[in-house]
Amino acid sequence: MIGDMVRGLVTTIKHVIQRPVTIEYPEVRRPVQPRFKGRHWLHRYENGLEKCIGCSLCAAACPVEAIWVEAEVNTDDERYSPGERYAKTYEINYLRCIFCGYCEDACPTEAITMGHMYELSLYVARRRDLHQG
């Protein structure tokens, strides 16, 4: 009977001295792999102009139709991107997105990439936080 107790304690003590497999999220965060596909980023050039040209190829590549793009013409007074065309509307529906990264592959200007942000459950106005946060 003592033997059984000792065997139980050994198991317990073994676990006490082992490194835990869990981490103290959110105080502690696990670094992700470089190729991790988190929330998208739409990038700008150094001069501040948007890389996105509103071509909708990301939307075409998206297997779940999560992306919505509407294009408009840049004018000299109102310029958002270097060429003629910019994305007037750019929306990603994160309830649909499956983080496959096809959009990233389709983009001809490397405007969209998938970042490392994965904390997408928010209580506040989702749109504002996800699009501008």
Binding site: I53, C55, S56, A60, E70, A71, E84
Partner: protein, 857 residues
């Protein structure tokens, strides 16, 4: 298509109609020869060299003419040493063609590589991307890699406005000249040109306003690259993102088949809206073309000022109401009006709407069903001797004669003009009978001019001259002959052309005519056809340029312009008037006054028009894009159109509205769908027999085969998957037909006194029509209100170009700008309708033109 020749296509013997273009013949037999510059609607020019093939002919013995056979017993073929362009060849007996050899493959590859040496390849931002023949052919035949240096590409303007409607991307142009050839050869608006040479070759517009053509949009369709785009759709959406619905244009009686491309739009509050209007191939109606009015005039469907809820008059003002409230009120008023109910049906009511309206009015034992506008008449003559089934302008060439009377066809029905003009190019004889010069005059020697008011006498004269001594055995001919005795000699050559024609079509407009005068003119035209034996056969008969897209349908459903005039003349005797999709108060000065007298008025409308403002109840109707239905075009082709976008606000289709009122009046249950209404029409209207929805939706293969997945023949095109419609047969096509002529009774011509002119109201394509004018893009093409005078008259009246003048006619007076034009005949003032100076009469009348200050403004 009777005679065929045998050619050998990749060693396979095929039959092809003699004289057919080699590219077309191969396409018909399933072999696609890639093309850029060749288009079956235009003459080949062999500019792009994409269609290279190996070509050879069987050798023939010079002395005997026999085919020389080789040792294996097969004919010896002499091949051209170099590759040839297929598009510049027509098939001929013993022709051998190879399209799959290494040499051909290399030839095509080199041409693509060459074209791409200075092509921007900015497909991601190119509106053609996804439906671009250059993309397609590059994928199929291109080298995959270019040996040319990227930095050596020539850079040219990317957003060059050829006019405010069409933008040119000069880098993308591959210099196929399709656009230039289209406007030069087909529409005869030579406003585009090449400029500079070599790799810098560019398209320019030489007109002011830029790209001044009523068909400019068609060039964006046939351009094989994304060089030409419309301002309306530029960057509107990627082609694969668009949904499409089959539709029919509502702007004129041609009834062009359309595809409405739609997409959700954030700026429109997340609604699905029409993004672009494209032609849908129907070789019998519009081929692959539409005019710019049809292409750009769709914005009214999404206009912010559409009426969205029923409005009822309370305390003198129209206030919003619920449907049940409004319908109850209407039903109550109709009930108390008893038999004193009348209806005016507008030009874009569908056949289903008209039928439901008729049932509603007749259910109340009302008898007056008017079609608006009451400017033209003669529906009975169309039913008797209208152009026969199978009539197709494309089949008219040598031997055919087309007479156009009292119409400026390009302004009134552009695609009729387009097709008539091309028929004339093919050799058809045109006879243009008009009081003034129009663009159609350019294509004929037979320009018959009359004084306004002498239209009927002129046709009578032509008939007398065409008949000579012949006395056809036709009912009523003796009386007609007696009446024709006094007809003036008009134009012997034109009469000869008519007499010698194998096929004869008479197209009758209504310019300057009162309704009675138009009726007489229709009769005179019918006489011309009947007496010369040109009825009841395809490519023969009468065609009216009706004022509305579905005027023909309204006539078929039992509505008449005579009833419309009766209603306006006796408005006070109607206790209830239903005005559906019509705006009499804005178009006719008499109607504007008369409607004040009428009792209860219920109007269905898209906008709060002057007529709607007079109404007691205004019900929001759906536009054509929001619902299903059928229209009957001028050639009596019944065609379906389908819902493309959601309804605006609470609007309902007219047929629904009338049925719901009918149900409230105990006229029986409302029918659930327009298809069921059509089924009832099919049952009750004899000539609509067999026109049920599935039949109207039938399609058949058409040539050229455009709009397929392979993008063949290039450009953006839509194949017809929504139905080709069906034409109903006229009496003259029936075995029981008794040919009959009647003496036309023309009212007296207006006789101007001293200092007076004949003021002729004319129709313009680009006007301030309530619906069309919602398209901002066209505003620059809509002129300021004007009156056009001959130089002599202008000098006599001391009117200078641009001066403000007052025009008085038939009790109406308007102030407009003067234009002095040589094309206006002496003693005539042309006053365009619908340019925003209030209602005008539509018939020519005696009037005056005077400088505004002189009248004492």
């Amino acid at each position: 298509m009777s005679e065929t020749v045998t050619i050998y296509l990749d060693d396979r013997a095929i039959e092809a109609p003699k004289g057919m273009n080699l590219v077309d013949a191969c396409k018909l037999h399933g072999v696609d020869i890639p093309v850029f510059c060749y288009h079956p609607k235009m003459e080949p020019v062999g500019m792009c060299r994409m269609c290279l093939i190996e070509l050879g002919f069987e050798q023939r013995d010079r002395t005997t003419g026999e085919v020389v056979l080789g040792e294996d017993g097969k004919p010896l073929v002499r091949w051209f040493p170099t590759l040839q362009t297929a598009c510049t060849q027509v098939v001929s007996e013993g022709m051998h063609v190879r399209t799959t050899t290494e040499a051909v493959r290399r030839g095509r590859k080199d041409i693509i590589e060459f074209i791409l040496t200075s092509h921007p390849l900015d497909c991601p931002v190119c509106d053609k991307g996804g439906e671009c023949p250059l993309q397609e052919l590059t994928m199929d035949f291109g080298p995959g890699k270019s040996r040319f240096l990227y930095d050596e590409k020539i850079h040219l303007a990317k957003r060059y406005p050829l006019g405010e409607q069409i933008y040119l991307d000069r880098e993308r142009c591959i210099q196929c000249a399709r656009c230039i050839r289209y406007v030069e050869e087909i529409t005869d608006d030579p406003v585009l040109q090449f400029y500079e040479r070599g790799r810098r070759l560019q398209i320019i517009s030489t007109s002011e306003p830029g790209f001044d053509s009523k068909f400019s949009g068609n060039t964006t369709d046939i351009c094989p690259v994304g060089a030409l785009t419309t301002a309306d759709f530029r960057f509107g959406a990627r082609p694969w993102e668009l949904d499409s619905a089959a539709s029919i244009c509502t702007h004129c009686p041609v009834g062009c088949n359309l595809t409405l491309n739609t997409r959700l739009d954030r700026d429109a509050g997340g609604r699905v809206i029409i993004k672009r209007v494209m032609p849908r191939q129907n070789e019998q109606v519009n081929e692959i073309w539409i005019c710019d009015k049809g292409r750009f005039g769709h914005h009214f469907t999404a206009a912010p000022d559409r009426i969205t809820t029923p409005l009822v008059r309370k305390g003198g003002k129209l206030v919003e109401a619920t449907w049940s409230e409004a319908l109850e009120l209407v039903a109550g008023m109709l009930k108390s009006a008893g038999k004193a109910v009348g209806a005016l049906a507008g030009p874009t009511l569908s056949n289903e709407d008209l039928w439901a309206l008729r049932r509603l009015v007749e259910g109340q034992r009302g008898a007056r069903l008017g079609v608006w506008p009451p400017t033209m008449t003669g529906g009975d003559l169309i039913a008797e001797v209208g152009v026969a089934q199978g009539t197709n302008f494309t089949d008219m060439g040598k031997g055919a004669c087309i007479v156009v009377v009292a119409s400026d066809l390009e302004e009134e029905a552009p695609i009729y003009w387009h097709r008539v003009k091309v028929a004339a190019d093919r050799g058809a004889t045109l006879v243009v009978v008009n009081g003034r010069a129009t663009k159609l005059d350019r294509y004929t020697r037979h320009r018959v001019r009359y004084h306004y008011g002498d239209e009927v006498a002129t046709l009578n004269g032509l008939l007398r001259q065409a008949l000579g001594d012949a006395a056809p055995d036709i009912d009523g001919f003796d009386q007609l002959r007696a009446a024709l005795e006094n007809a003036p000699a008009v134009d012997a050559a034109a009469a000869q052309a008519i007499a010698g024609a194998t096929d004869l079509v008479v197209i009758v407009g209504g310019e300057g005519l009162s309704m009675a005068a138009h009726g007489a003119l229709m009769q005179a035209a019918a006489n011309l056809l009947v007496a010369t034996g040109h009825v009841g056969r395809p490519n023969n008969g009468l065609l009216a340029v009706w004022p509305g897209a579905n005027t023909q349908g309204a006539l078929d459903m039992g509505f008449t312009p005579e009833d419309a005039t009766h209603i306006i003349d006796n408005a006070a005797s109607f206790e209830a008037l239903i005005i559906a999709g019509a705006d009499p108060a804005d178009e006719d000065p008499r109607a504007a006054a008369a409607l004040q007298e009428a009792g209860f008025i219920v109007a269905t409308a898209l906008f709060l028009t002057p007529t709607a403002e007079l109404a007691d109840v205004v019900l929001p109707r759906m536009s054509f894009a929001e619902r299903d239905g059928t229209f009957t075009n001028g050639e009596r082709r019944v065609q379906r159109f389908c819902k493309a976008i959601d309804r605006v606000g609470e609007s309902r289709a007219d047929w629904q509205i009338f049925q719901q009122v009918g149900a409230a009046l105990g006229q029986g249950r409302a029918m659930p769908t327009p298809g069921v209404v059509m089924a009832q029409i099919v049952e009750r209207v004899p000539w609509y027999a067999g026109m049920d929805y599935p039949t109207l939706a039938e399609v058949a293969p058409q040539f050229p085969m455009v709009g397929g997945e392979d993008l063949y023949y290039g450009g953006t095109m839509y194949k017809n998957a929504g139905g080709l419609g069906r034409q109903w047969a006229v009496a003259a096509e029936q075995a029981s037909y008794q040919a009959r002529v009647r003496v036309p009774k023309a009212p007296a011509a207006p006789k101007p006194g001293k200092g007076e002119l004949i003021v002729v109201p004319v129709r313009l394509l680009y006007d301030q029509g309530t619906e069309f004018y919602k398209t901002q893009l066209v505003h620059r093409r809509v002129p300021q209100a004007y009156v056009a005078l001959n130089a002599g008259d202008a000098a006599r009246l001391s009117v200078r170009e641009g001066a403000r003048v007052r025009v008085r006619l038939a009790g109406t007076e308007v102030e407009v700008a003067a234009r002095v034009r040589a094309s206006v005949p002496e003693g005539v003032a042309l006053l365009p309708l619908n340019l925003g100076v209030g209602p005008l009469p539509h018939a020519a009348s005696v009037g005056t033109v005077a400088v505004a200050e002189a009248v004492g403004a």
